[in-house]
Symmetry: C2
Subunit: 207 residues, 2 copies
DNA sequence: TAAAATCTGTTGCAAAAGCAACTTAAAGCT
DNA sequence: AGCTTTAAGTTGCTTTTGCAACAGATTTTA
């Protein structure tokens, strides 16, 4: 999805090439980082998946974002505005690259090839992130649950080059992602089937 | 809002410093760029405001995004996915910096100070953009119109360091931004006043 | 300055969505 | 294998939202 093949290779070897870049492992439910204070920290998810979680003043938990392989995150990309506390929590076991924004600004040597690559590759990651955010906004601005679902399915269909595909996340998570009530979503899924617009078998969908 | 003061100065002088960067003027309703084909073009709005507009297969127009001073845009930041056509159209008279992604990758000389600054400043702009997108997602994921409005007002209140502020866009545009029906929004604004949660006088709001 | 266009404000009505409260099914864990 | 947790699927009821269709106010532009 727009991410170059050599990127993964680059990420794999990043730690070896620069002492300022750490590679860390996290187990399920461990806190990877917080967005409470500014640290100019940049994180790249090498493997696994993680959630950006908010606890508001009433103690309610909500998942703001789901990060997957090659996603770039950190408070650096998020305005620490309101009084709410943001955590990134491992959903599965994760491998994460962690470094500071300073790593970009200051090169090791005047012609360090590694740093040049870093800047270039992080650009790719950033564009990937933009694309994810814009896609989500696209879906969230759909007025009805029906349009949100069909928009989401249309994207999956294009990604899979097929009218048939499976939903890569749980339906519960999907409702969360689209910011709609799960039971209302189930109802809409049912009526889409009844109208013959989609076929559904478990998490397999055909348009 | 996180954008350094020297950024504007940098942008003002960008064209003078690098022949690969163009500064262009656009009048109201002129098309600044399209997101139809990949050109790896990056645009920075120096002054004015512009809309990212979509025309879908039925010819319906919708405004996806509003760009203001210091916003960075271009198909580079947007996945050209569906069959819909995207245009950036000047809402007022605009001044725009236009250059290609290649400008980042290839420096003029090995130690060109200008290019170094360009990379650094564009990072600032990108972070600003992330922040805008995340803020909008935050608001769009609020379930009710009431919560969307209060979330929006809370941000304005923080930005203005005051419980009293004015809404910087028209109410019609606000409804669009929050992706809600305008009349329903008006109704909610009214009930927020009746409940004593806000005071409203024209576009002036007090919490 | 008159006409056109846009924006604000309102309302009734129908449809959609949210909420709560379940049951059943599947997945994870010891 | 049995227990626990999480996810899927369903339903009735209530509230919220969207839609359509206005009138009045304000702004733009010819």
């Amino acid at each position: 999805m727009g991410i170059q093949n050599n990127l993964s290779e680059f990420i794999e070897n990043a730690e070896k090439n620069c002492k300022k870049i750490q590679k860390k492992e996290f187990k399920k439910d461990e806190i990877i980082t917080t967005y409470i204070e500014k640290r100019n920290q940049i994180c790249i998810l090498v493997s696994g998946s993680a959630d950006l979680v908010r606890y508001d003043s009433n103690g309610n938990k909500s998942i703001i974002e789901r990060f997957n392989k090659n996603d770039i995150f950190g408070e650096f990309f998020y305005t620490v505005s309101m009084n709410n506390e943001l955590f990134v929590k491992a959903k599965k076991s994760c491998t994460v690259l962690i470094f500071s924004y300073e790593v970009f600004k200051h090169k090791c040597t005047s012609n360090c090839k590694f740093h040049e690559n870093l800047v270039k590759n992080v650009y790719e990651l950033i564009l990937h992130r933009f694309s994810s955010l814009n896609t989500r906004i696209d879906l969230l601005t759909q007025r009805t649950i029906k349009d949100k679902l069909l928009g989401y399915f249309s994207i999956l269909s294009i990604e899979n080059h097929s009218k048939t595909f499976s939903i890569p996340i749980s339906l519960t998570d999907l409702a969360d992602y689209l910011s709609i009530d799960r039971s209302a979503m189930m109802r809409t899924l049912k009526s889409l089937q009844e109208e013959g617009i989609i076929k559904k078998n478990g998490n397999k969908i055909s348009l």
